[in-house]
């Protein structure tokens, strides 16, 4: 042991250890940056044996006064972004150990940082399958498991504990950034600002945060206070073939200047004509500024402005048939126009954030942080409309055909089904798809131009679904060290959101106007006005830039109160926290929808109120420095997101039937082992969600049974429907293991394991709505024990790092994923599945076959190998760093997610489709990327 200590001492630098006599046993010291010798704040100092820990203050100083263990001890000093160090010391009773000027070296590999960014860049944002819901909450941290999950699992859309990212809360300066619409943070809002977003405090799971109650996945607070940045600048250039091609970032922070001002600015640009998938353009500029003025020792004001407009081309999920023909880079959303690739689905996020904070150290022990934030701007998602019509004798005629090359009637499978004896047709369709297989913009223009010449309107139009949010948030957080053992945290928070939702014409593709009616509304006999999108302006011809289709606002208000007490003792820490949340939301129709006239859609709808609450408690028991136990229990009841409250907000005020607060119960227990070589943590968890809702939209064939359920005159067997799943229960349980072993001074072995089972835990209620019928109850959907589409339920990683004293390093991991499941269609698990149009069961219903048809698809297991490496050079007090990573070195082809198309909604349709070699309405999938690279160089000064 002694030898190791000496070695460690030798490696990690020499520092002064002063020992002096005192009344009590004290360990104190300070930590400086190893390069510029500036003090580092918020470094975590831990006495390994007892697991007592404290943090350095702004002068880099720390002190242990209570229950200091005697004898040979090891101090671990760690901070995110720095290489953790361990210092051996000897503590004698009634002596002061003063270990000043310890140094920390920055972790130049910065891999955590790169991966975090890649994660938010990758945020696949398709509204269809809910795959956008990858856990952005995966953040790097000092926790081995969490870090591995963030580094290695994120590209497989691994979700922590199988939970949606709305279970984790992301804050900037104490202001929660999760959107009220869906509860998820919009990562693009601060993309490209990595340099200035590295001051993060992460609490995982239920463990207490100093900022808010948090979700069951914890909370992350990003601190952008100008004086907290180390002075200096950095210029970074990166190149990749993942989402963007180029990235250039520059930032500079002044540190606290002598005049008590501090400022930080950062600029970034990420761009590329194409990422890994075809025609996924990327264009983003990022601006950041933070200015702080310290008025006196007690008061300081800080202003932060963040602006990161981001445009990117989306890529499509595809059926296996399409992948087999076109490969995993294929994207149906684009086509050639004048020699350029034009993507019809662009996501455009442009939401600046302004934050003004007041830091007030009321006393030495109590601080108050008051913040007001304002976020405004727009989110747009573009797509093609192909149903433009002309008014003939008061009624719309016309419309085009689906321009997508993957429209089912254009693919070989369709011809194989319909012309099984004429496979030549399928062959022709296949050749056509192989040779072209993209949107033909020229045809769209030429159709529009020809119709315009004949006095008509646009048949095809490019438009975007817009969400223009304006949100004001006030937050006041208090932290008070009541005594040496007790810390109080509390906050009150108020949010007010006005969200404008509408569709906007972007491009009429050669035409001059578009007739704003709903060609799908077909109940002309009973309601001739049903086709009107806005009864107040019927049959309006709209031009580029005009609002059309739908237009409504959401107004929402949230008030949150939260209080927490944390107790820290020698052997045991514990905490208890509670919160209460009042949420109200109201829809306000600007348009009066023809299918839902009057107060069904126009004006202010009913105001809906929810009262949520939360309670949690936990304890950490330190048997010794090596062995620690940690247990947390929590209960959260929260308002459903706006998205899951309104069943068809584009057209009416309807809310989900029997809606109530969502209830989450969660418990986890961990065992932590630390030795000088091995660092490990094993966690078991169990989370139960109740009363959740899920709303989805799709075109369904085979819903004739609706007649029987709705007892009305509806006589169609196919319709565009909203599917409302209400009262959903989900069960998430499993175990996580993270382990690291520093086998030599240069080689570290790493391993992580996540094993979980995430299932539906009841048979929730299923309702269907459309323009023709509202909230028709189809009974229960038999979902119990079906697996949740939550990424791989099982993932593990093995790897090593070699860190050469000469400032270069290299690492490799092998990552294994299994138990990834498809997102099932609840409608086909409902009574609609076996019910004929007369309300009776199909006469050819076959229980055994039905069971086989409804079996949930489990994707193939796969392995992904990732490499990282880098080198850095120090030139005087400047750094040049380089970093290279290769993901999926072996170019493994694997599915990361997918969903069943609900189009075949009943037994007969599904049976007939699945009987085909290539189903016409097969499931759609997302594939992981093949081998990709990321190269990064930076210069720091």
């Amino acid at each position: 042991m002694k030898r190791i200590k000496k070695l460690l001492f030798f490696i990690f630098g020499i520092c002064t250890v002063l020992i002096a006599s005192a009344q009590q046993t004290i360990i104190k010291g300070s930590v400086n940056d190893g390069v510029n010798f500036q003090p580092i704040a918020n470094v975590i100092i831990t006495i390994e044996e007892t697991n007592q820990s404290t943090q350095t203050n702004t002068d880099g100083a720390f002190i242990f006064k209570e229950d200091v263990p005697l004898g040979e001890q090891i101090l671990r000093i760690s901070k995110e972004g720095f290489i953790t160090k361990r210092f051996p010391i000897v503590v004698n009773e009634f002596k002061i150990v003063d270990i000043s000027d310890m140094t920390l070296e920055e972790d130049l590999s910065e891999s955590h940082d790169l991966f975090t960014i890649m994660l938010s860049d990758d945020e696949l944002d398709d509204d269809i399958g809910g795959i956008d819901n990858i856990s952005g909450i995966l953040q790097s941290s000092l926790d081995v498991f969490q870090r591995t999950a963030a580094f290695e699992f994120s590209s497989s859309f691994f979700r922590m504990r199988g939970l949606d990212s709305d279970n984790g809360s992301v804050l900037i300066n104490g202001i929660e950034m999760n959107k009220l619409f869906n509860g998820r943070p919009q990562w693009s809002n601060w993309g490209g600002l990595n340099d200035v977003f590295r001051n993060q405090e992460l609490t995982s799971g239920l463990t207490p945060s100093n900022y808010n109650f948090g979700g069951v996945l914890g909370s992350t607070n990003i601190n952008t206070r100008a004086s907290d940045y180390r002075s200096g600048g950095r210029i970074t250039y990166s190149s990749s073939n993942r989402s963007y091609t180029n990235r250039l970032m520059a930032s500079y922070a002044s540190g606290l200047l002598k005049n008590d001002w501090a400022f930080a600015i950062s600029l970034g640009r990420r761009w590329g004509n194409e990422g890994y998938q075809d025609a996924t353009i990327y264009e983003s500029n990022s601006f950041f500024t933070s200015v702080e003025k310290k008025l006196n020792d007690k008061h300081s004001f800080n202003f932060t402005g963040i602006y990161a407009p981001n445009r990117r081309g989306k890529s499509s999920p595809n059926t296996q048939e399409v992948y087999d023909l076109k490969g995993i880079k294929y994207n149906e959303y684009w086509g050639w126009q004048e020699g350029k690739k034009r993507n019809s689905r662009i996501k455009d996020v442009d939401e600046p954030i302004l934050i003004l904070s007041h830091f007030w150290d009321v006393t030495k022990k109590t601080s108050l942080n008051n913040t007001v934030a304002y976020q405004f701007g727009k989110q747009g998602n573009s797509r093609l409309d192909y149903n433009g019509t002309d008014l003939v004798n008061g009624f719309p005629e016309g419309g085009g055909s689906n321009p997508s090359a993957t429209y089912y009637q254009k693919l070989p499978s369709y011809f194989e089904r319909n012309f099984p004896n004429d496979l030549g047709f399928a062959y022709i369709a296949q050749q056509e798809f192989l040779n072209k297989g993209q949107i033909n913009w020229n045809d769209l223009y030429s159709a529009n131009i020809s119709n315009t010449v004949n006095g008509g309107n646009a048949v095809y139009a490019l438009y975007e679904d817009r969400v223009d949010d304006k949100q004001v948030t006030f937050n006041s957080t208090m932290n008070s060290q009541i005594n040496e053992h007790v810390l109080f945290n509390g906050s009150i928070n108020y949010k007010s959101l006005k969200s404008e939702n509408y569709a906007k014409v972007l491009d009429l593709l050669g035409a001059t106007g578009y007739l704003d009616v709903d060609g799908y509304a077909n109940d002309f006999e009973n309601n001739p006005e049903a086709i009107q999108n806005d009864l107040l302006n019927p049959n309006r011809i709209v031009g580029v830039g005009d609002t059309f289709k739908y237009n409504y606002n959401f107004n929402a208000e949230v008030i949150i109160g939260y209080a927490q007490l944390q107790f820290k003792y020698n052997k045991i820490d514990f905490y208890v926290a509670g919160s209460i949340t009042s949420t109200s939301s109201q829809r306000e129709g600007i348009y009066e929808n023809g299918s839902f006239p009057g107060n069904q859609s126009f004006g202010k709808g009913k105001k809906i109120n929810f009262l949520g609450s939360g309670a949690k408690a936990g304890t950490t028991y330190k048997i010794s420095g090596k062995h620690v136990f940690d247990v947390n229990v929590g209960y959260i009841s929260k308002a459903p997101s706006i998205q899951n409250t309104y069943s068809n907000s584009r057209e009416n005020h309807n809310i989900v039937p029997n809606i109530s607060e969502e209830k989450i119960t969660s418990i986890d227990a961990s065992y932590i082992f630390r030795s000088s070589i091995v660092n490990a943590k094993l966690t078991g968890y169990y989370t139960k969600i109740k009363d959740a809702n899920e709303i989805s939209f799709f075109f369904a064939d085979g819903i004739g049974a609706i007649n029987a359920f709705a007892e009305n005159e509806f006589k169609e067997d196919a319709n565009f429907v909203q599917e409302i799943l209400q009262g959903v229960e989900k069960k998430h349980f499993g175990a996580e293991l993270g382990i690291e072993a520093q086998v030599t001074t240069t080689i570290k072995l790493k391993g992580a394991l996540a094993m979980g089972q995430f299932t539906y835990d009841n048979n929730p209620n299923l309702y269907l709505s459309s323009e023709d019928f509202t909230n028709v109850y189809l009974g229960k959907s038999n979902l119990k024990n079906y697996k949740l589409a939550a990424g791989p339920h099982t993932a593990y990683s093995l790897g090593f790092e070699y860190r050469d004293p000469d400032y270069w390093w290299f690492g490799a991991t092998a990552n294994f994923f299994s138990n990834t499941y498809i997102d099932i269609s609840p409608l086909t698990r409902s009574s609609n599945f076996n019910t004929d149009v007369d309300g009776q069961s199909f006469n050819d219903y076959d229980q055994t076959l039905a069971k086989a048809l409804l079996k949930q698809e489990r994707f193939d297991d796969y392995m992904v190998i990732n490499l990282t490496g880098g080198k850095s050079w120090r030139i005087k007090d400047k750094y040049i760093g380089s970093f290279v990573s290769v993901n999926n070195l072996l170019d493994e082809v694997y599915k990361t997610g997918g969903f069943e198309q609900s189009r075949n909604a009943n037994f007969r349709e599904l049976r007939d489709d699945k009987a085909l070699n290539k189903p016409v309405f097969g499931s759609k999938y997302w594939y992981g990327r093949g081998a990709t690279y990321f190269v990064n160089v930076n210069y720091r000064f």
Binding site: S231, G232, G233, I235, N246, L248, M249, A250, S251, Y252, L267, R269, W271, N273, I281, Y282, E283, R311, Q337, E338, K340, K341, R342, T389, V392, N393, G394, F395, E397, G398, G399, G400, S401, K410, F415, D422, F425, I428, A429, Q431, E432, W441, N442, D443, Y445, S446, A447, I449, S450, N451, V453, N454, V459, D507, L509, G510, G519, F524, E525, F941
Partner: protein
């Protein structure tokens, strides 16, 4: 400050990096069409194509495949539009832009079967097109001559990926002038062409309907269009997938243009519109006949006033005696007696009008009862039975007059109305049974009445049906 200046240098590098992303500034693509370069020698007439089909039929084949080695094109103008959804996966072209009809290249139309929707986006009405016939099959599809892919049995659709190479657009887009015609004059040569009918209206019994949105409409809705000139009618066929299926039919009278064709089962002629704009029935003065409609009585009268079962008549001779007036207004055929025991049997001996092979351009035949005095009688009823055979578009009406003086000369000038409550065999009824008229109540009329059975047809194939009549009985009381 040194650091700041370095930073600013970095920033300016960043800003100077004006690498553009392909996005957002797309110019309108050049969509102009170039006239395809097709030598005149490669272009043949519609007539030649139709003759190839007719040859094949004469040779016992259902279809013919064009397998010429030389390129063979036809040129024509698009007359159908799937914009309103009334045409689906088909394009109808005709060779003339108007009603010209030269002998060497007579006015004809063809249907092209294509497995693609929204064809109007490419082939708008009036667009000149060239169709490359090599490799295409000609045959009959739903009763009209069609071209497409196919085999020896039938014409199949040209696939979506191919049709742009087969049907080439010319630069010309013309304003089509439809052929103005009378319904009874339309022949199979007019199929797949644009026809205009003047002075038309929707039959009064269909006025409450939509184009094709009734619960009884399957695949297509059929509405009776009738001529105000001569009451000749044709069915307007509208797809239940058309955009305008749920619109009410126009209520007035006027002109209509549409594509002349056959129904799906090739049973009768139809007219199909591209859009409701093709109908201009804005004259509110309809030409509905005078009607007497006291409904049907529960029972017929107990005392007979007039009865005829034609048993005493002579076969193939005009009906005479028993007070009948047998008047041939047009043509050479009138109501005559017949008897038959075939599946299309008579009721013993019955009366009929048969115009097939008459060679007549028009046949109108009346059979009028003697005077029926309604005065002072309660509960007068009329009963009769009708049947038909291949009615085609010819039709039979049951009329009454209260002011006819009984002379042949004044038949046309007298006022005739329709006894609407009477059921008269329809075109769509089976030829086998005889249909009861019901007990037609005449009690809401007074005075003296003549009842006429009027046949309208011609010797032309599409208009030469047989109508049969028997057991005419007028009763009254108690």
């Amino acid at each position: 400050m040194n650091n700041i200046s370095k930073f600013l240098i970095g920033v300016s590098i960043a800003i100077s990096f004006t690498a553009c992303v392909q996005d957002d500034d797309y110019s309108v693509p050049d969509t102009t069409i170039k006239e395809p370069n097709i030598p005149a020698s490669s272009i043949t007439t519609f007539k030649a194509i139709v003759e190839r089909y007719e040859q094949a039929v004469n040779g016992g084949n259902a279809t013919v495949l064009i397998r010429d080695e030389q390129n063979l094109y036809i040129e024509g103008y698009v007359v159908s539009s799937d914009k309103g959804g009334n045409f689906f996966e088909e394009l109808i072209i005709q060779n003339k832009m108007d009603d010209s009809n030269p002998d060497n290249d007579p006015r004809l139309g063809l249907k092209i079967e294509i497995n693609a929707s929204s064809l109007y986006n490419t082939f708008e009405v009036g667009r000149k097109v060239y169709v490359k016939m090599n490799g295409l099959t000609i045959g009959l599809s739903n009763g009209v001559i069609a071209v497409g892919k196919g085999d020896s049995n039938r014409v199949k659709q040209i696939q979506a990926s191919e049709y742009r190479n087969i049907i080439k657009r010319g630069t010309e887009v013309v304003t089509l002038t439809p052929k103005i015609a009378n319904i009874q004059d339309l022949t199979d040569k007019d199929e797949n062409t644009l026809i205009q009918l003047n002075n038309m209206q929707v039959n009064r019994f269909d006025l409450a309907s939509t184009y094709a949105g009734e619960s009884t409409d399957e695949f297509d809705g059929f509405r009776i269009l009738e001529s105000c000139d001569n009451r000749v009618s044709i069915l307007m066929q509208t797809s239940t997938f058309s955009d305008f299926k749920s619109l009410p039919v126009p209520q007035g009278k006027g002109t209509i243009q549409g594509i002349f064709g056959r129904d799906f089962g090739d049973d009768f002629n139809v007219l199909m519109i591209n859009s409701t704009i093709d109908i201009n029935f804005d004259n509110p003065q309809r030409c509905d006949p005078l009607e007497l409609n006291c409904g049907l009585a529960a029972n017929f009268g107990t005392t007979n006033l007039f009865y005829e079962n034609f048993e005493t008549q002579v076969n193939n001779r005009l009906i005479t005696g028993n007070g009948w007036t047998n008047y041939i207004e047009a043509g050479t055929e009138g109501w005559e007696a017949f008897s038959s025991t075939s599946s299309n049997a008579s009721l013993g001996r019955s009366a009929r009008v048969q115009t097939a092979s008459s060679g007549d351009v028009s046949n109108i035949a009346w059979l009028i009862t003697p005077t029926i005095n309604l005065n002072g009688k309660n509960g007068v009823t009329l009963r009769f039975k009708t049947s038909n055979s291949l009615a085609d578009s010819s039709f039979m009406e049951v009329l009454y007059s209260l002011n006819w003086d009984g002379t042949l000369a004044n038949i046309k000038s007298a006022t005739w109305g329709i006894l609407s409550a009477a059921y008269v065999v329809k075109d769509s009824d089976s030829f086998v049974p005889w249909f009861n008229s019901g007990n037609v109540d005449l009690s809401c009329a007074t005075g003296t009445m003549h009842i006429a059975f009027k046949y309208t047809g011609s010797g032309q194939e599409a208009f030469d049906g047989v109508y049969e009549l028997d057991e005419v009985s007028v009763d009254y009381g108690p």
